[in-house]
């Protein structure tokens, strides 16, 4: 068993499951450890103080699903995704719009989700790394490119790079390495595996082109 048990829990079922079901199998002697926290608001404080107001309940479209969450006014999309919806594939590397690990697509456009207020994406479609592969598990061509080339090292930056690449390649399906690098330049890799990342993304572009030809 090489994969993380929790990894399988990533997309929690949308309905019909109790919290107990959700955390089943990840109970560690009573402490429920889960990567998918969407049901648990970390704070019960909201109810006790005046901090909450009635208009915090929000429905947003994430990865093609309408998801409901209790969102603070100052809450960023990255926080909502990670801590309210359990979509922890979107990473926080700097929380200051500098590193790109939190890149998601909003209506198809890459944004630093650490620097988007969740309340501003109500009417928009959000796509995260978890929503890239098709429901049958087939990887997106860009994801496949990474597999093909062993792109990335620690991969903390990977979801952001892949999201940026997916959007860029949609508009520029056949880029040069330089053009692609420009497109990915809003993402930082501290393993500095830029060469291999570019190679993997170029392979992803190739995969996308052959997929669209097919």
């Amino acid at each position: 068993m090489t994969e993380n048990d929790d990894a399988k829990m990533i997309e929690p079922p949308q309905s019909g499951l109790t919290r107990r079901d959700l955390i089943k199998g990840v109970i560690l002697g009573g402490v429920a450890i889960s990567s998918s926290s969407y049901l648990f608001r970390a704070s019960t404080l909201a109810a006790q103080t005046s901090r909450g107001t009635g208009d915090r309940l929000l429905t947003i479209n994430v990865n093609g699903q309408q998801r409901r969450a209790d969102v603070m006014k100052q809450e960023t999309l990255a926080w909502t995704l990670r801590h309210k919806l359990g979509l922890t594939g979107t990473k926080l590397g700097c929380d200051r719009a500098e590193c790109g690990s939190c890149t998601v697509l909003i209506d198809g456009v890459p944004h630093y989700s650490c620097s988007v207020l969740t309340h501003t994406v109500r009417d928009k479609k959000v796509l995260t790394i978890e929503g890239l592969a098709s429901p049958d598990g087939a990887l997106h061509p860009v994801q496949q490119g990474v597999i093909d080339e062993q792109g990335f090292q620690c991969a903390f930056c990977m979801p952001g790079f892949i999201m940026a690449a997916v959007a860029f390649l949609k508009a520029n399906p056949d880029p040069t390495r330089m053009e692609l690098a420009q497109g990915l330049s809003g993402n930082l890799c501290r393993c500095q595996d830029y060469d291999k990342i570019l190679t993997a993304m170029m392979r992803g572009a190739e995969n996308m082109r052959s997929a669209s030809r097919a």
Partner: protein, 338 residues
Amino acid sequence: MAVIRDVMPDFKLVQPNSITGAQKVLEQQGENGWVLAGGMDSFDWLKDRIKKPKVVVDLSGIEELKGVRTTADGIEIGAMTTLTEVVQHPAIREKYKLLADSAELVASPQIRNQGTLGGNVSQDARCWYYRGGWPCYRAGGNICYADTPEGRNREHAILNADRCVAVNPSDSAPALIALDAKFVIRTSKGERVVDAEDYFIGPEIDITRLHILKPGDLLTTIRIPSTWAGAQFYFEKVRDRNVWDFPLLNVASAMVVSSGSIERLRIAVNGAAARPLRLKVVEDAVRGKPPNASTGEMAGKLAVQGAVPLQFNAYKIPLMRNLVKRAIGGVQEATWTS
């Protein structure tokens, strides 16, 4: 009381869908209100908990602030138009490429996708002391930490410093000045139109702001007249990193050349002072001269007259001189066959 530089403070978020609606809230709130455009500057202040507004007014729902329109005399760009839209807009690319070129060099793709033209010209200084929440002049205090015997001021001003030595970090601002753009401002008293260069103010006038907006004022539109449409443009930005970096200096110029001599020129430099500097003296001096290296040389020297270097930023003087020189005299493309 202890300080923490993380976690956005609690605030009320107002999302109006009209300029009037936004203004109403901002006027009510005064100093407690905060205008959120793309947020690329705002979130830093908020997350560092240096600014704690009670009400944040999100302009992203105001459609009248967005988009590029061609008018009888040029174009109009809504202040909330993203930099990416500015870069990609065909009319801008065709006639006012200077603006597209400058916007394309702002920060990173994701920031350009979200950051707005209005936000880019209205952004605050990036002096690391000021941004660190130190109580400097710009923050309402009584000292400039950068202009001290040991202060670190590699990225600070060489011109027009007055106590504060911070610089304006905008890339699009000098381009808009070179294009003779007009900024349309909605104030409580109505609409006001100012020349691009008058939108910006130096510390001698107001040490706490880089632009003329007062609480409750909104920059709504940027108008670019056709005066310089299709002129010969030059934009260059020098920065440490090739992406996601502020300019050490940048230069923007629009030049009309007829029968071998410069008929007219507008040129501005940013990163040298607290406001983007229009180099009027250069514009006047080169009129009627050929746009060549020696005119450029002369212009460059003229441009840096009166520059005062700080301990670590003397390089900005030759840099500014050379950028102005290139804007006028051009730059020889280097090609090697290897």
